[in-house]
């Protein structure tokens, strides 16, 4: 019973961290249909901005917010000068965001060097409950992830802005007939997705080694999360996808080695794509 509980807690922690990492991609991909290959670089930038700010004496929370704002600003510039001219051409946006990834990775190396960097864990320690343990910081990150997803849900389903965005996503043509500023809404969504990626990179940075490739670890997994969860299913899809890609590994690892567990997970992902190409939550 104890083991079952602690496996459940572990898998929830992983699920929420993965969901956090994938959220920016899910927003941009799910709402706009833009395949943001620069997502990994945005995570990396968020982590480096946090590292840089904390080494300059900025308190951790402020550094995280600065990192999110900084990556959001980079997203704004990227959208304004490049991406917005290519919204009707998905393949071009894919290549352009890939280019952004390459360039920003090289710039990170030049600006911050290639040494291993570390962001000190702002909440060391863990809560012990019998045989299972809740690492304090990771638990807070999981809660923030949950809060972001709930908050995004409330925003999308309960506010005027959210209704506008959902309308726009379904039918930009009709939305513009109703006087909605489509270009501005796209810009808003792209910046929000970028800032979410920056925030995720910032929050993940104390758990991982900060190097120029930190975002890559999550990039492929994030794509699987979004695709398995279902393109356009920003909220439920991201959570279900994160559980299948991250959380379920914990269960498989009970019966097999880690390598086998990860392999099973990716095989399942491929099976999902084969038989439910629109994602787990979508019937067709």
């Amino acid at each position: 019973m104890q083991t079952a509980l602690s496996v459940l807690v572990d898998s929830m922690l992983i699920t929420f961290v993965f969901a956090l990492a994938a959220l920016g991609l899910a927003i941009i991909f799910g709402l706009m249909g833009v395949i943001n290959m620069g997502h990994g670089a945005m995570l990396t930038l968020g982590a480096y901005f946090t590292w840089f700010a904390t080494t300059k004496g900025v308190p951790f929370v402020a550094a995280v917010l600065l990192a999110a704002a900084g990556v959001g600003l980079i997203g704004l510039l990227l959208e304004h000068f490049i991406i917005r001219h290519f919204y009707d051409r998905p393949f071009e946006t894919l290549l352009l965001t890939w280019g952004f990834f390459l360039i920003s990775t090289e710039l990170i190396k030049i600006a911050f060097g290639t040494d291993l960097r570390t962001v000190t864990n702002p909440l060391p320690g863990a809560a012990h409950f019998g045989s299972f343990v809740l690492p304090a910081y990771q638990s807070v990150v999981a809660l923030i992830s949950l809060a972001l997803i709930v908050g995004l849900g409330v925003m999308l389903y309960r506010t005027g802005l959210g209704i506008k965005i959902r309308a726009l996503v379904q039918n930009a043509e009709v939305a513009s007939l109703l006087g909605l500023n489509v270009a501005r809404a796209y810009k808003l969504v792209f910046v929000a997705g970028s800032a979410a990626a920056g925030l995720a990179g910032a929050l993940i940075s104390p758990m991982l080694s900060v190097d120029p490739y930190i975002g890559n670890i999550f990039l492929v997994r994030s794509f699987f999360v979004v695709i398995v969860g279902g393109i356009g299913q920003v909220l439920g899809g991201t959570l279900v996808g994160s559980f299948l890609i991250g959380g379920s590994e914990t269960f498989f690892a009970l019966f097999s080695g880690q390598v086998v567990a990860q392999t099973i997970v990716f095989m399942l992902a491929i099976l999902v794509l084969r038989f439910r190409p629109a994602g787990v939550l979508r019937a067709q």
């Binding site: 209704i163 959902r166 309308a167 043509e173 009709v174 513009s176 007939l177 109703l178 909605l180």
Partner: protein
């Protein structure tokens, strides 16, 4: 030249899709109040004219003036904010949004933020469907929703593309009543296959033939013009 009674003035309009020209030197005016019908067989250029007025298509030459202002350079949403409304022929509703959310989007786009009640006053049937997703509505209800939602934006002129297409015959009269009442208050430009309905809403009628204005005149005269059937025959 600007007539104080003219809200919309289309002048010498030419539109092409790539190399194939669809509209040739089309002119059309609409007053501040009352209906204008645009008739013609399939492919005559009626929808193209509508889409050019609202800004989804760009014209090659000619002008579109609305409320005394040249608008051919404006984006669609800017034209909408000036007071143009458009109910397209199909895909006019957000199928995955609820009826309430569909109406809310219309209200948000407009200048008056007094909610969705006015649309429900015009089409009371929608009131029973507020929680349903728009994709589950019948054809007639979808048209009501699209028209009601467009009206929430407080348009001075409403462009209607086939408002009764795909609508069950029993509901057509209800829509027609509302459109006639609407034409008493604002300008309505209606493209419609249903000839009697169109002419009952409109005071003035234009007949397009292969991209050109073939006939123009008061609805009563056009109705009796012997050439009308020739232009509408398939």
């Amino acid at each position: 030249m600007s007539d104080a009674g003219t809200l919309l003035a289309v002048h010498d309009l030419c539109v092409a899709y790539g190399r194939s020209q669809v509209l040739f030197n089309v002119g059309l005016t609409a007053p501040h109040r009352g209906g204008v019908a645009v008739l013609g067989r399939n492919g005559a250029g009626k929808t193209t004219l509508m889409k050019t007025i609202i800004g989804e298509l760009r014209n090659k030459s000619g002008s579109v003036r609305f409320a005394g202002r040249e608008i051919t350079q404006l984006a669609t949403e800017q034209r909408v904010r000036l007071g143009l409304g458009y109910v397209p022929q199909e895909h006019g509703v957000f199928a995955r949004l609820s009826v309430r959310d569909n109406l809310t989007v219309g209200a948000l786009g407009g200048r008056r933020h007094d909610g969705i009640e006015r649309a429900l006053a015009i089409f009371p049937k929608l009131g029973q469907r507020l929680g349903q997703t728009a994709g589950t509505l019948s054809g007639g209800e979808r048209k009501m929703l699209a028209i009601g939602r467009a009206l929430l934006g407080e348009p001075k002129l409403l462009l209607l593309d086939e408002p009764t297409e795909g609508v069950w015959v029993g509901v057509i009269d209800e829509i027609a009543d509302r459109l006639r009442a609407l034409a008493q208050e604002i300008a309505v430009v209606i493209v419609e296959q249903h000839l009697q309905l169109a002419l009952s809403v409109a005071d003035q009628a234009y007949v397009l033939d292969r991209g050109r204005v073939a006939l123009v005149g008061p609805s009563a005269e056009i109705r009796d013009d012997p050439r009308l059937l020739q232009y509408l025959a398939p």
